[in-house]
């Protein structure tokens, strides 16, 4: 069981954040292609960082508390998953805050999200006001 420590933590992150997609409808997993594209820079940079850190001896991983599966460069499989799971959780957090507050994040909300419906209604109200209705 000890060997599942790191993997269980990652699973915990996904379980804890899942209600944001299911109940709050932030539509992050629903936009999974976009999500994958957005993760590419982070994944490349941070996996490279970890490979350098392992080679330079900055840090090391327990073989007791991980599965013990090491990929090329000595990086544990859990550490690779970390750089997919944690950024997804961060995106879920951002979209959750935006959905709840309606605060501007610098890009339009997707057309079928709550924020976008609000924006569309606002545009409709503008139009009615302009045409004197």
């Amino acid at each position: 069981m000890e060997q599942l420590t790191y993997l269980a933590l990652l699973a915990g992150c996904l379980v804890v954040t899942a209600p944001l997609e299911v109940l709050l409808h932030v539509r992050v997993y629903a936009r999974w292609r976009r999500l994958l594209v957005a993760l590419v820079p982070e994944f490349v940079v941070f996996v490279a960082w970890v490979l350098y850190a392992i080679a330079a001896g900055h840090w090391d991983y327990s073989d007791v508390r991980t599965l013990g599966v090491r990929l090329p460069g000595g990086i544990p499989v859990e550490e690779v998953l970390f750089f997919l799971v944690v950024p997804v959780c961060a995106v879920l957090a951002l979209e959750a805050v935006r959905t709840v507050t309606g605060w501007d994040a610098g890009y339009p909300a997707p057309d079928d999200s709550a924020g976008s419906i609000a924006a569309r209604n606002e545009r409709g109200a503008d139009r009615r006001a302009e045409s004197g209705q």
Partner: protein, 115 residues
């Protein structure tokens, strides 16, 4: 380079990406800082377990020394850079996709919120 030096370089580099390269300017927005405040709580929890149980161990020569919840303070810089790079990239991808889609559907612009 030590972990400390790399962590500082990473934060500066990611700030440049957010402000000047992608121009997503998330660090100027309260939506980002509110989300980051939530993320950092979970980061301290998860990192605390990872380092407290010695899942990850650090070379004392590669870090400054001070620790927060068992983890070297550099981990906070590492985490900030990871989160900001991810969210700036996510914002840039969505800005591109949603703006393009809206342009096809509706060319009317919203009334300026600064008025």
């Amino acid at each position: 380079m030590s972990y400390s030096a790399l962590a500082v370089v990473a934060v500066v580099a990611v700030l440049v990406v957010d402000l000047a390269v992608l121009r997503t300017r998330l660090v100027t927005r309260r939506v980002f800082w509110t989300a980051y405040a939530i993320v950092i709580v979970f980061q301290l929890l998860m990192n605390g377990v990872l380092t407290g149980l010695d899942v990850v161990t650090y070379d004392p020569d590669a870090i400054w020394g001070p620790r927060i919840a068992y983890a070297p303070v550099e981990d906070l810089l590492f985490g900030f850079a990871l989160v900001l790079l991810t969210l700036a990239s996510w914002a840039a991808v969505n800005r591109r996709a949603n703006t393009a889609r809206r342009r096809g559907l509706d060319t009317r612009t919203r009334r300026s919120s600064t008025r």
